[in-house]
């Protein structure tokens, strides 16, 4: 365990403890530092962050609310497993959210949204260029999340972000062991999407998003069928 506490006064601001634990736990779960099934021990976290169990518990309740951890009553709590059996469920929702968020972005985006989207696309292109698979996953998710934000529908944004998180977990499970690369084609498709969004061409945006999403789903399915060690995550 690394102790990065160098401050002499270890007093944190009042409400920041839970957010810190929540953010860090969340990142560790999505990055598979805590793989599915990992036990979450409250007292261990408490002494790790040098705080009481109360704020730890609040962070855990939040994570449980988002489905990132599962809590057995009166028993242990652990990182939720990835549901490989109902994968089509995930794909259905992902494709639909890709489409509807891109549609709405074409309808409701403002100039400043395009700036953000283009910045995310630049980061994604850089990650592809550098063949950094992990960065590709993160920047790709950030790109589409930015598009969803431009669509300005909080309900879709919320569901979409959850799906992107889950996808980040699944992809990382495979990319970390194979080091695949997302093809340059995705970069080009992103560029096309930006173009039609800027042109406010709703139908074209929908069509592009559909093709793009199915492309990604195909890519994921290919990874899964090629590799059969699905038993890792229970």
């Amino acid at each position: 365990m690394t102790d990065t506490d160098s401050s002499p006064t270890l007093e944190r601001k009042r409400g920041s403890g839970v957010k810190m634990v929540y953010d860090l736990l969340r990142d560790e779960i999505l990055d598979l530092v805590l793989p599915p099934g990992s036990p979450i021990d409250e007292v261990q976290l408490a002494e790790r962050f040098k705080m009481s169990r109360t704020p730890i518990r609040e962070a855990l309740v939040r994570l449980a609310g988002e489905g990132l951890i599962d809590t057995l009553p009166n028993r242990s709590t652990m990182v939720s497993s990835i549901d490989f059996l109902n994968m089509h469920t995930f794909f259905d929702a992902l494709v639909l959210m890709y489409r509807v968020t891109t549609r709405l972005a074409a309808q409701h985006h403002r100039p400043e949204d395009l700036q953000i989207i283009r910045a995310r696309q630049a980061e994604f292109a850089a990650a592809v260029q550098a063949q950094d698979a992990l960065a590709m996953i993160a920047t790709n998710a950030a790109f589409h999340s930015a598009i969803a934000e431009a669509g300005r529908n909080t309900y879709f944004i919320g569901l979409f972000n959850r799906l992107l998180d889950e996808g980040r977990r699944m992809l990382r499970l495979y990319y970390q062991s194979y080091g695949d690369q997302l093809p340059q084609r995705f970069v080009d498709e992103h560029e096309d999407m930006i173009t039609v969004i800027a042109a406010r061409d709703v139908e074209a945006a929908d069509q592009l998003a559909k093709v793009h999403a199915e492309q990604i789903v195909t890519q994921i399915k290919r990874l899964f069928t090629r590799d059969e060690r699905l038993d890792i995550a229970l």
Copy 2:
């Protein structure tokens, strides 16, 4: 304050306290017993349920996670307001979820699902027959929630239930003051939906759900434009 505690030993089962508070708070919020903007006092709830503040706080964290209450850091927490300005956002999501859940129900339903759906429809018809507006709202939501369950996509089920909850709050805001009735037409449309779902006619299910959803949206909009005292809920 009514004291319904008649048991001499007021010991509850270990994990049941939070669920009880959560369920009751949730119902009171959705039924507008606690209208938007109502302050939520932890100590008051603590002595009302004769328990410590800790389980109360856990229930509140969960409710905040679902967006039913808003928490100001270090200050008060109150029932979240209904966002009338971005209503179209709600309608967009509602219509889409109506369509996709009905589609999926037509695809994936099993015989036992139809039994449940028909039971919900019977309850809805009875509420319409009795001209009980509040029961109509609840049974209509339960009917469509049952269809979503038959679709077996947890992501859509989760978002749809949230939307139905929010709709329940909005409708109750108006029905409780006007005593309107949902027309018999909705009962007939429900019957048609059951028929096409049972026949596994996906496209017809989608089309019926679309018309039905837009019908409901029109109904809600009519209520809102007819009445201009939107300032009630801030």
